[in-house]
């Protein structure tokens, strides 16, 4: 994992001092509210329904145990003792006081953390696959490139006031895309060309929100060393030509659409031609230097513990289920990737208490070289667990509330904070998630349904990724009443697609029944191998419509 050197440390310390000064000037009335607004947003602070919220950056989702413990302490000392894992791999505090934020940032800086550019019209946290570096099918570890992008985008002097927010995601696996890259402003797929050289396929102009779009490819192969100059060219074109007259049309996806992907690509290439050999061009040494931070931990030379696990599974059915669903194959023999689900029924998805943060830190130290990853599904991953200790780990997880063996099932719901916390909400989202989790509490039934993503957003802004859920739920306002619109067939994977709206919306108390009917149609129509998405794509939306609105 990346470790700060004196340069990073100095810049983060200066940033804290700068924000302290800005906060004081704001409180003293020297900065008008609209002048302070982008400054505080770029420090992660935005004001919500009940209180300010502070979004803390977790670069590409990686956290060390000391950082988790510090977060726990901060939630205790400055907040109400809990935090929220977001869909962008960050951590959010719901109740900090404005005056305390500079102190919170100073505490974060001590453990190499910050809240830079987690909000505002700037380049946000770069995200990636939570299994980066430990899965066997990736072309190379994407995290060094994320870190390189993090450094380049941090306090970039030209791009601090873009037309709108800007998000970059990187993926390195050819089979899976856990980073949802095609739904980002820039999605980078690491590839090798025919000559075997490493590079990126560049997608630009994806996004959710009120105009969801899947990002088209604007360049099939970008050589590795050209990464930053090419990003700079894209950003410059966007900074100059992205719309600034209408907030809802300001994302880069609108510009790409207006110019057509081809026209946009031409503009980028023309800009890039001027700067591709500028000092911003990466060097092999610079990349190697960052890669050196992401070396393997001190793995033991182990064999797969197949026999042991087989016996343990045989003796313990619940362990067997957990292993099947929440544990993934590791590239290293004898190790496994474990996902802790933050989806216990009755707890808002992604919410963790200070005590749980400390428990996760302890688990990381005991089982996974002191590191964890936050996922965009709002879960937490222990990436390097010895197979012969899985049972021991599993036994600890149940009481802590992280052992629900529902990963990637219908109840592993992605859910935004919604009307309980968010001023923009049309409707609450958390109670809907809970009602659905209560309705589908039979694990065997969930396993039988296989992989289904149910995503809930409280409004068009789509923080809960409803457009890309196999089943998406969107809160809408109907004459002051909270209603929910359903869409089907979304995906954020390599085959990314935007879900299609089923029809008129429903009241909250109808939701579990409606979901049950949709599931029913799938169960009746599917063939033996089909996932929900496969069936939907084969039979189309009509059978679902007929059943739900019968």
């Amino acid at each position: 994992m990346y470790v700060y050197d004196e340069h990073d440390r100095q810049m983060v310390a200066e940033r804290v001092a700068q924000f302290r000064d800005q906060t004081q000037r704001a409180l003293a009335g020297e900065l008008a509210e609209d002048e302070f607004l982008p400054l505080r947003l770029q420090n992660g602070l935005y004001v919500q329904r009940l209180a300010p919220m502070l979004r803390i950056c977790v670069p590409y989702g990686m956290l060390r145990s000391v950082q988790l413990r510090r977060l726990a302490r901060i939630t205790r000392d400055y907040d109400k003792g809990y935090a929220h894992f977001t869909t962008r791999q960050n951590v959010q505090l719901n109740w900090p006081a404005l005056e305390d934020v500079p102190d919170i940032l100073a505490e974060l800086a001590e453990v190499e953390m910050h809240a830079n550019q987690t909000s505002g019209n700037c380049i946000r946290n770069t995200t990636t696959d939570q299994f980066a570096g430990v899965q066997s099918d990736e072309i190379t570890d994407p995290r060094p490139y994320c870190e390189i992008i993090r450094q380049w985008s941090t306090f970039h002097p030209e791009f601090a006031f873009l037309p709108r927010k800007f998000k970059v995601a990187v993926n390195a696996s050819e089979q899976t895309d856990r980073a949802a890259i095609r739904l980002h402003d820039i999605g980078l797929q690491i590839v090798r060309n025919d000559a075997g050289d490493l590079g990126f396929r560049v997608h630009v102009g994806g996004g959710l929100g009120r105009t969801p779009m899947v990002a088209p490819v604007i360049r099939e192969f970008l050589p590795e060393l050209d990464l930053l100059t090419y990003l700079e060219a894209i950003l410059r074109v966007y900074n100059r030509y992205g719309r600034r007259d209408n907030k809802f049309k300001a994302r880069i996806k609108i510009l790409v659409k207006a110019l057509t992907p081809q026209g946009f690509a031409e503009k980028v290439e023309a800009e890039w031609a001027h700067i591709r050999d500028s000092p911003t061009r990466l060097t092999p040494e610079a990349i190697q230097r960052i890669q050196a931070y992401f070396t393997e931990p001190a793995y033991g030379e182990l064999d797969n513990a197949s026999d042991l696990l087989a016996q343990q599974r045989f003796e313990n059915r619940a362990f067997d289920q957990w292993l099947q669903h929440n544990v993934d194959t590791h590239k290293k023999p004898g190790y496994a990737i474990v996902s802790l689900t933050m989806k216990k029924t009755g707890t808002p998805p992604g919410d963790v208490t200070d005590k749980q943060l400390e428990q996760i830190a302890d688990l990381a130290d005991e089982f996974s070289f002191g590191e964890v990853r936050v996922t965009h599904q709002q879960n937490v991953v222990l990436a390097d667990v010895r197979q012969d200790r899985l049972l021991e780990l599993w036994q600890l997880l149940g009481p802590m509330g992280f052992g629900t063996a529902n990963l990637n099932t219908l109840t592993d719901i992605i859910c935004c904070p919604g009307g309980d916390f968010c001023a923009l909400a049309n409707a609450k989202s958390i109670p809907v998630a809970e009602a659905i989790q209560r309705r589908f509490d039979n694990l065997d039934f969930l396993y039988d349904l296989g992989e289904i993503n149910l995503n809930i957003s409280g409004c068009m802004n789509a923080c809960g990724h409803h457009h890309v859920g196999s089943i998406g739920v969107l809160g809408v306002d109907k004459k002051g009443q909270e209603f929910y619109q359903i869409s089907l067939g979304g995906s954020s994977q390599h085959d990314a697609s935007i879900g299609k709206i089923l029809g008129p919306s429903f009241a909250r108390d109808e939701m579990p029944d409606v979901i049950a009917k949709i599931i029913d149609v799938y169960v009746n129509k599917r063939t033996a191998e089909e996932t929900f998405l496969d069936t939907y794509r084969r039979v189309g939306i009509d059978p679902f419509k007929e059943r739900v609105y019968a």
């Binding site: 100095q10 200066e14 002097p157 500028s278 610079a286 230097r289």
Partner: protein, 168 residues
Amino acid sequence: MPDIIFRDGTVHQNQWVVVPRPDAGESLDIPENRRALIPADLWLAGREHFVGKAHIGVWFDSHDEPEILAGHVNELPVIAVNFPKFSDGRGYSIARLLRERFGYDNELRAIGDVLLDQLQFMKRCGFDTYELRPDKDIRKAAGALNFFSQGYQAATDTDLPLFRRRAS
């Protein structure tokens, strides 16, 4: 006229007036005996007349294309870029293009909604004088220009991004 800040943080008397774009049908109203910044496209249209005049400079608005002056930039003593609203970031790209693409060497000035917290970004993008909005405390400008002692990126102020400095 409000004072002007130099990139070293010192404060100087402003010598230049910004001449607004004339309404349709009106002609440019360049004041007598004053140094004047006129809209860049109008300078270009009357270049024969203006070129070589040390008391005439130009200004760009944030939606203007600096490309129109390619090849001519160093005929100008001052180029200003307007920030109609501080949150309109196009001026930063315009500045870098003028410096890095078109090789502009003379004074590059930020005008309009110029506040304290953006000064260092402006400096890094190649601006070397700043007309701070008059209600802002000009004594705080020197500090704001140097809040960060270094940056990660190459920009107009340095050819050495941090990854190149780390290597050496």
